[in-house]
C-alpha cells in the first residue's frame, strides 16, 4: 500500500438507535455482528456468496426510500442507513420464517446428532413464536440416504439453506449435490449414479445448520453437551486450525476452525476423519522388542513382543553405544511436533554425535535450498494482484485447504496461476497457464520464463504458452509453491527451476512437502549439515557447542546416503522417527536391502507400519491429540497443538522418548516439559527470539521469522542435462492421490476403501495409438522392471507421459524408477 493512499472512511449507519461505523462494502449482517448485534441466520456463511435464501436475517431497514424488510446478508451498508433489528415488523418476519421452517421439520431432536448444537433449535428458542399452528401433514422422505461413502443426508431435516450445495459448487468445485424439484418438493440430492464423492464433503456436515447432513464416523457417537472441546492445530502442511471434540477420553470428531490466515474453517476429508486411526486397536501401546513366540525377550527372536520402557530403552541405548556415532543414522521426524524435533536434533547431534540425520526421504528438496530462500505466506500468495507458480504435488490431492484457498483466489480473479507440473492439477480449469513441460525439463522452462526467452519452444512448451506465462507473472509479487511433483525424475530439474525462479524480483517460496512439519524439521536441524535456526554446521558450531556442549564435526548423510551406507554395512543402527522407508522411500529395493542389513532398527511410531514390523525395538509415540506442542506450517507459522485425551497404553510424546533415551546414554537434555524445550528454542535460536508460547496461541499463530532475515545464497548447481525423449518411449511420472495406502488412511474405517487401484494414466491420443481403452491392461517396462496395470485415459495427462499414482493397490511404480538417471523413460505395450 502506498503512503499516499488514505484509510477509507467508515460508513455511518444507525443500528437500533445508535450510530455505528461500517467498513466500506461491508454487509449489514457483518457490521451488526461486529457491533454486538447478532442477527439470526441460517444460509449466510461468511466464506461463501450470500444467497438471501432462508430469509431469517430479514430486518427493517430504511435506506432513504422508506422502511422495508431486507435480508441483512445481501445488503451492503450505505451512508445514513437506518436499521432496526428489534422492531415489531422485524420480529414478526423472523418469527414467520422460523414457523415456516419448522412446519415441515421433523421434531426428532432427541435422536438427532445435531440436537444441542443446532442453529435451528437454538434460534427457535430465541426467536420463534414458540407454538405451531400447523395441522397439516408434514413432508416426508426416506430417512437418511447415503450420498457418499461418508456422508448421510436426511432430507426431512433439511431446511434448504443452500450451504452444502453452495460449498460443493463454489468452494470445492465438486457440484455433485444440487437442488432438485421445486417449491415444496425442492430437495438436495445427488445425480443418479454419481455420489457426492468430494474430497471436502465433511465440510458440508460441519456447516449444515440442522442435522440433515451427518458423517458416518460421528453418527450416534455422542451428545454435543458431553463433548470436551479444545482448539488445536492439525499437523498438515497448511497447519489447519481445528477444534478437537472428545468424550470419555476418545476423540470423536475434528472440526475446522475459521482462521483467516490458513484454512478458513475448512478441512479435507482425509484430515477430518483421520482421527479414526488414532482410536484404532492397532495403535502401538507399549514398547516392543524382538522375542520368541512365547513373549520372552530374545534379540534374535522372530516376533515383536511387548516389554517395559526400561527394557526397551536399555536395549536401544546399548545399540547406540555399540558403534561409532557415524554408524548411526536418524531418518524421519518431519511429522513430529516442533519441540520433538528440537529434542531429537539435540539427542542425535549433541548426545549421539551423528550428523546422519534427515527428516526427508529423498522425496523433497535439499534443506540448504529450502533454508536459503525467502518464505512466503498463503495470504501473500492469494492477495489481489499476486501470481502463483505451482511446482509441487497437486494441491487438490495433497494440500486440501491450500487448494481451497487458491481456488477461491482464482475464482475471484485475484491471482494468476502458472502450473509447471508435468500433469494438470486439480486447479487446471482455473489456472492461467498450464505449461506442462516435458518431465525433467522444468528447469529450462522456468529459466526461459524468468529471462523472457520466449522466441522458441523450450522443454516441449510452445512460445505462445511461454509468453502467456511471462505475462501472467509480469509485475506481480510471485509465490512459488515448490516441491517434488514426480518422484520418477530426480530432484535436479526442480532445483534448477527453483533456482531460476529465485531470481525473479518480489518472489517468495512455499515449500510444500508431504509431511506436516517439514518446515519445523528443517528449522530445528533435522537435516544433514544444518543446525537449528537455518544455519549450516560451520556457521552454528560456535553457538551450539556452547548451548549443547557438542556438535558433529563433519556433515553427515542424507537418507539415500544413509540407506546406501546401511546396505553396505557402514551404518549399523537406524532410528526411524515416524518414517517408513519400506513403503515411502522412492527406491523400494534400496530401502529393503538397507533395513535387512542393519544390526538394529529403532522405530518410534504410532501405528505398525511396514518398517515398524521389521524393527528390533519399537517405541510407541503419542499422537497429536494426546500431547501438547507446537506445529510449524510451510509458511513458518507456529500454532499450538493441544493434547486432550490420553495415549493408548504407555505411549508417550516423542520429545519424552528422546529425553529418556538421553538419560540412558548418561546425558541430560534438560527437558522435563514441552515448555522447557520451547524456552530453550527461544533462548538458543535467534530466529525464534520473542516467540513466546502465549503469542503463538493467539489469533492465527506466529510466523517465523518475526523479522525479515538475510538468507544465505544457495549454491546454484549447473542446469541438469536431460535426455530428449525418443519417439518409441514414454516418460514416467508418479503422482500422489488423496486416498492411498498410507498407514493412517488404512487405519480409518471410513476411508480405507476409498483409494482406487493403481492405473496407468495416458493421454487419449496415446491410448488410441496403443489401441487401448479404459480398464485394459498394458505392460510398462523400464530399464529396471516391468509392471502390468490397467489404463485410465485422461486428457489431464500430456502426450508422451504415462502417469502412475504411488502407494495404491496393484503395481508399484517405484519398481520402474531408474534412480541413477534424471528421468525414467518406459515402453508401454499391450501384453
Amino acid at each position: 500500500m502506498s503512503d499516499t493512499e488514505t484509510q477509507p472512511e467508515g460508513i455511518e449507519v444507525t443500528l437500533n438507535g445508535r450510530t455505528i461505523e461500517a467498513n466500506p462494502g461491508e454487509l449489514l449482517i457483518e457490521a451488526a455482528e461486529r457491533n454486538g448485534v447478532n442477527i439470526p441466520r441460517f444460509c449466510y456463511h461468511k466464506r461463501m456468496t450470500s444467497v438471501g435464501m432462508c430469509r431469517m436475517c430479514i430486518v427493517e431497514v430504511d435506506t432513504g426510500r422508506g422502511v422495508g424488510l431486507q435480508p441483512s446478508c445481501m445488503l451492503t451498508c450505505s451512508p445514513g442507513m437506518t436499521v432496526d433489528t428489534e422492531s415489531e415488523a422485524t420480529k414478526a418476519a423472523q418469527d414467520g420464517v422460523i414457523e415456516a421452517l419448522l412446519i415441515n421439520h421433523p421434531l426428532d431432536c432427541p435422536i438427532c446428532d445435531k440436537g444441542g448444537e443446532c442453529p435451528l433449535q437454538d434460534q427457535t428458542m430465541e426467536f420463534g413464536p414458540g407454538e405451531s399452528q400447523f395441522l397439516e401433514i408434514k413432508r416426508t422422505y426416506e430417512k437418511p440416504i447415503a450420498i457418499s461413502d461418508i456422508v448421510y443426508l436426511d432430507r426431512e431435516r433439511c431446511i434448504l439453506c443452500d450451504r452444502c450445495t453452495r460449498f460443493a459448487d463454489e468452494v470445492a468445485g465438486d457440484a455433485l449435490i444440487q437442488f432438485q424439484g421445486r417449491g415444496n418438493h425442492t430437495q438436495v440430492n445427488t445425480f443418479p449414479g454419481e455420489p457426492f464423492s468430494s474430497y471436502f464433503s465433511g465440510n458440508t456436515v460441519q456447516i449444515c445448520p440442522v442435522g440433515a447432513l451427518t458423517a458416518k464416523p460421528y453418527r450416534f457417537k455422542a451428545r454435543p453437551w458431553d463433548l470436551q472441546k479444545t482448539d488445536s492445530t492439525f499437523p498438515n502442511t497448511m497447519g489447519d486450525r481445528i477444534e478437537v471434540h472428545s468424550s470419555r477420553d476418545q476423540v470423536l470428531r475434528l472440526m475446522g476452525v475459521d482462521s483467516d490466515a490458513t484454512n478458513w474453517g475448512w478441512l479435507s476429508d482425509r484430515d477430518r476423519f483421520s482421527f479414526e486411526a488414532l482410536n484404532h486397536e492397532d495403535r502401538l501401546r507399549s514398547p516392543l522388542v524382538r522375542g520368541d513366540s512365547l513373549g520372552n525377550t530374545d534379540e534374535t527372536g522372530e516376533e515383536l513382543v511387548a516389554t517395559s520402557w526400561a527394557v526397551a530403552l536399555e536395549l536401544a541405548a546399548a545399540a547406540l553405544r555399540s558403534g561409532e556415532p557415524n554408524s548411526i543414522g536418524v531418518i524421519g521426524g518431519a511429522r513430529l511436533a516442533t519441540e520433538d524435533q528440537y529434542a531429537w536434533a539435540k539427542l542425535a547431534k549433541a548426545v549421539i554425535g551423528t550428523d546422519n540425520v534427515d527428516a526427508q526421504l529423498d522425496d523433497g528438496l535439499p534443506a540448504g535450498l529450502i533454508s536459503s530462500l525467502p518464505r512466503g505466506t498463503v495470504d501473500g500468495a492469494t492477495a489481489k494482484g499476486s501470481a502463483v507458480v505451482l511446482l509441487a504435488d497437486d494441491p487438490k490431492e495433497q494440500f486440501g485447504t491450500l487448494y481451497l484457498r487458491l481456488r477461491h483466489a482464482l475464482r475471484n480473479g485475484d491471482i494468476t496461476l502458472v502450473e509447471l507440473g508435468p500433469t494438470k492439477s486439480g486447479l487446471a480449469k482455473l489456472s492461467t497457464v498450464h505449461a506442462q513441460p516435458v518431465s525433467g525439463q522444468v528447469g529450462s522452462v522456468a529459466a526461459a520464463i524468468v529471462s523472457g526467452t520466449i522466441d522458441q519452444a523450450v522443454g516441449g512448451v510452445q512460445p505462445d504458452t511461454l509468453a502467456a506465462a511471462v505475462a501472467a507473472l509480469d509485475g506481480r509479487e510471485v509465490t512459488v509453491i515448490a516441491g517434488r511433483s514426480s518422484l520418477a525424475e530426480s530432484a535436479a530439474p526442480t532445483i534448477d527451476a527453483v533456482a531460476a525462479l529465485a531470481t525473479l524480483p518480489n518472489v517468495a517460496f512455499l515449500f510444500a512437502g508431504r509431511r506436516a512439519n517439514l518446515a519445523g524439521a528443517i528449522d530445528m536441524g533435522l537435516a544433514p549439515g544444518v543446525l537449528p535456526g537455518r544455519v549450516g554446521l560451520a556457521e552454528g558450531t560456535a553457538r551450539f557447542s556452547a548451548a549443547w556442549g557438542n556438535v558433529p564435526a563433519t556433515g553427515g548423510h542424507d537418507t539415500r546416503a544413509m540407506l546406501e551406507a546401511a546396505a553396505a554395512g557402514t551404518i549399523k543402527t537406524l532410528i526411524l522417527l515416524g518414517a517408513d522407508p519400506l513403503d515411502d522411500f522412492p527406491d523400494s529395493g534400496l530401502a529393503a536391502r538397507a533395513l535387512a542389513a542393519v544390526d538394529t532398527i529403532i522405530a518410534v511410531d504410532t501405528l505398525p507400519t511396514a518398517s515398524v514390523r521389521v524393527a528390533d525395538i519399537v517405541l510407541p509415540a503419542a499422537a497429536f491429540t494426546e500431547r501438547d506442542g507446537t506445529h510449524t506450517n510451510f509458511e513458518g507459522r507456529l500454532s499450538p497443538i493441544v493434547g486432550q485425551v490420553g495415549s493408548p497404553g504407555t505411549a508417550r510424546p516423542d520429545w519424552m522418548i528422546a529425553a529418556e533415551l538421553a538419560l540412558e546414554l548418561d546425558a541430560d537434555l534438560g527437558f522435563d516439559s514441552v515448555e522447557s524445550i520451547w524456552d530453550e528454542i527461544v533462548a538458543t535460536i535467534p530466529l525464534y527470539a520473542g516467540a513466546s508460547r502465549q503469542l503463538i496461541a493467539e489469533g492465527d499463530g506466529l510466523v517465523i521469522p518475526l523479522q525479515p532475515i538475510d538468507v544465505t545464497a544457495f549454491q546454484t548447481p549447473d542446469v541438469t542435462e536431460v535426455l530428449v525423449l525418443d519417439s518409441y518411449s514414454m516418460r514416467l511420472v508418479t503422482e500422489r492421490r488423496l486416498y492411498d495406502n498410507a498407514t493412517t488412511t488404512q487405519h480409518c474405517a471410513s476411508m480405507a476403501h476409498l483409494g482406487d487401484d493403481a492405473v496407468a494414466s495416458l493421454h487419449p491420443l496415446d491410448a488410441a495409438a496403443l489401441g487401448v481403452s479404459d480398464g485394459e491392461y498394458v505392460a510398462v517396462t523400464s530399464s529396471q522392471s516391468t509392471v502390468q496395470l490397467p489404463v485410465s485415459v485422461n486428457s489431464r495427462i500430456p502426450r508422451g507421459v504415462v502417469a502412475i499414482a504411488l502407494n495404491r493397490n496393484g503395481a508399484d511404480p517405484r519398481q520402474l524408477i531408474d534412480h541413477g538417471a534424471v528421468v525414467t523413460d518406459v515402453r508401454v505395450a499391450t501384453p
Binding site: 445481501m74 451492503t76 420464517v97 434448504l160 417449491g183
Partner: protein, 468 residues
C-alpha cells in the same frame, strides 16, 4: 408443412379501435415475411438505421412507452440505466408469458413474429447492442415454431446478422426455449435460466439486470408486447403515438379477458382511457357476463393481482389508478367471475398455482404457499376447523406481513389499500399467493365460515354390527 399448421389460433378478437401491434392479425398469413414486407415491415428498421442511435432511443423515451410485462416502467427510461462504458451488454426479450389469464404475448409471437424481431433490432440499434436473447416459454410450441421460422427468414433476407441492410450494424438473435416454470417470467430468474442454472430469482440489489444481468453484464429485459410497439413508434413518431391513450399511459394495450364473459379474447384498446366496464360489458368487446348473470368479482391483472368487485368497474385500464385502488393492472389479464363462483374454491385454485410454481428458494414462500393450499383444500373437503381462517391469514402474513392491498368496499367498511404488498421474499410470487386469500376472506368471509360450519355439523354415518 400442412395447411392446418398455418392456420391462426383463436383468441384474438378484432374490435374496431386503433391498432398498433395487432394491425396484421386479420391476415391468415400474418406471420410470414412476405405479408410482413407487404404491410410496411422492416421499414421502421430502414428508417431507424438512418437515424442516430440516440435519436431512436429518444423517440421511444418521448413516446413514454410503458413496459407491458407487469410493472409498467417506461421502457425508454429503463434503457438509460446501463452503466456507461460497460460492454458487452445484452437485450433479453421476456417471452415467458405464464401468468394465469395472460395470453397476449403468445398471440403476438404466433401471429406477427417479425414485428417482435424488428422491435429487437431497433432496440439493439438504439442501445449499441449486438446480442439479443429471445426467451420463449417452454409450452408455447406454435409460438416457438413461428418465431424460429421468422428468424430464419429474417436472417436469410439480411435483416438480422452481420451488416444489416448494408450498414455497420450487426446483431445476432439467439432463441431459447424455457423448460416450463412460471417463475422464469421474473426477469432475474429468467436470466439465471438463460445462463443454464435453476430458474430462481436473484436479489435486487445488487442484481438489477441493467447493471449486473446476464453473465454479469448490463442487460435490458423487455416484454414481447413492449418491443412490438417500437417499430410503429419509429415509423410514425412519438408525437403520433401519444395521440392515443391517456397522457400518462399513451398508445394502445392488449388485454386478455377470460372467464365468465360472453366473448372472451385478446383486445387491443387505447391505453388508460377505456374502463373495465367498457371492456367487460361493451358491445365492441366482451359483451357482458355469460347468461346475463351478476358479476361477482374480477381479477384486473392476472392471478397475482388482488380481486376487484363491481364497485371498481368504472376505473380506467391504467396502472396508476388500478394500483391506487388496491390491485394491479399487471400483464393485462382480466379474469371475470360471476355470481355462481365459489369464492373459497376460486381462491384455492389460484393458491394451488402459486404453491406448485414456487421455486423453493425463499423459506416463507416455499413452505407458506403449500401451507395455505393445504388449509384451503381441507376446508373444501369438508374438514375445516374453527380458527382455520385466522391460521390461513397468519400463514399468509408470514409471506406478506402487514395489511395486504385491498379494494374499497363501503358496505364492509373497507378502505382501499394501495398496491404493492410488503414481502419477506425475494420476488413477488409468494405475496401473489396471498392476493386471492386476502381478497376473498375480506369480502366473502361468510363463505369461508359456512365451510367450517358445515364441517362442524356434518354427520358421520357409522354402521353398526357389520352393517349391510
Amino acid at each position: 408443412m400442412s395447411q392446418a399448421h398455418l392456420q391462426n389460433t383463436p383468441g384474438y378478437v378484432n374490435n374496431e379501435g386503433m391498432k398498433i401491434v395487432t394491425s396484421r392479425f386479420g391476415y391468415e398469413d400474418s406471420f410470414t415475411i412476405d405479408r410482413y414486407l407487404a404491410t410496411g415491415g422492416y421499414e421502421a428498421l430502414r428508417k431507424g438505421l438512418t437515424m442516430a442511435p440516440g435519436d431512436v432511443h429518444g423517440e421511444v423515451k418521448n413516446a413514454s412507452l410503458l413496459g407491458r410485462g407487469g410493472a409498467g416502467f417506461p421502457a425508454g427510461v429503463k434503457w438509460g440505466f446501463c452503466p456507461p462504458g460497460k460492454f458487452p451488454r445484452y437485450l433479453v426479450v421476456n417471452g415467458d408469458e405464464s401468468e394465469p389469464g395472460t395470453y397476449k404475448d403468445r398471440l403476438l409471437m404466433q401471429r406477427d413474429p417479425h414485428q417482435i424481431i424488428e422491435g429487437c433490432l431497433l432496440t439493439c440499434y438504439a442501445l449499441g447492442l449486438s446480442q439479443c436473447f429471445l426467451y420463449v416459454r417452454g409450452e408455447m410450441a406454435l409460438a416457438q415454431e413461428r418465431i424460429a421460422d421468422a428468424l430464419n427468414d429474417a436472417y436469410e433476407a439480411g435483416y438480422v446478422g452481420k451488416n444489416i441492410l448494408g450498414s455497420n450494424f450487426s446483431v445476432d438473435i439467439v432463441l431459447h426455449w424455457g423448460a416450463g416454470a412460471y417463475i422464469v417470467g421474473e426477469e432475474t430468474a429468467l436470466i439465471e435460466s438463460l445462463e443454464g442454472n435453476r430458474g430462481m430469482p436473484r436479489l435486487k440489489p445488487p442484481f438489477f439486470p441493467a447493471a449486473i444481468g446476464l453473465y454479469g453484464q448490463p442487460t435490458i429485459v423487455n416484454n414481447i408486447e413492449t418491443l412490438a410497439n417500437v417499430p410503429w413508434i419509429i415509423t410514425n413518431g412519438a408525437d403520433e403515438y401519444k395521440k392515443y391513450g391517456s397522457e400518462t399511459s399513451p398508445g394502445t394495450r392488449l388485454f386478455a379477458v377470460s372467464g365468465h364473459v360472453k366473448r372472451p379474447g385478446v383486445y387491443e384498446v387505447e391505453h388508460g382511457v377505456t374502463t373495465f366496464r367498457d371492456l367487460i360489458y361493451g358491445d365492441n368487446f366482451c359483451q357482458g357476463i355469460r347468461d346475463d348473470n351478476e358479476l361477482k368479482m374480477f381479477i384486473p391483472g392476472g392471478a397475482s393481482a388482488p380481486w376487484f368487485f363491481p364497485e371498481q368497474l368504472d376505473l380506467p385500464l391504467e396502472a396508476r389508478s388500478v394500483g391506487a385502488a388496491g390491485s394491479m393492472l399487471g400483464s393485462g389479464a382480466i379474469v371475470v367471475m360471476d355470481e355462481t363462483t365459489d369464492a373459497v374454491k376460486a381462491a384455492a385454485r389460484i393458491v394451488r398455482f402459486f404453491s406448485r410454481e414456487s421455486c423453493g428458494k425463499c423459506t416463507p414462500c416455499r413452505e407458506g404457499t403449500t401451507w395455505e393450499e393445504d388449509i384451503l383444500n381441507r376446508m373444501l373437503s369438508g374438514k375445516g376447523r374453527p380458527g382455520d381462517i385466522e391460521t390461513l391469514l397468519k400463514a399468509a402474513s408470514n409471506i406478506s406481513p402487514g395489511v395486504y392491498p385491498v379494494a374499497a368496499w363501503e358496505e364492509g367498511g373497507l378502505v382501499a389499500v394501495p398496491f404493492p404488498p410488503k414481502q419477506t421474499t425475494i420476488c413477488p410470487l409468494g405475496p401473489s399467493s396471498v392476493a386471492p386469500i386476502a381478497s376473498a376472506i375480506r369480502r366473502f368471509r361468510s363463505e369461508f365460515e359456512a365451510k367450517i360450519d358445515e364441517a362442524a355439523h356434518a354427520t358421520i354415518e357409522v354402521s353398526v354390527g357389520g352393517g349391510s
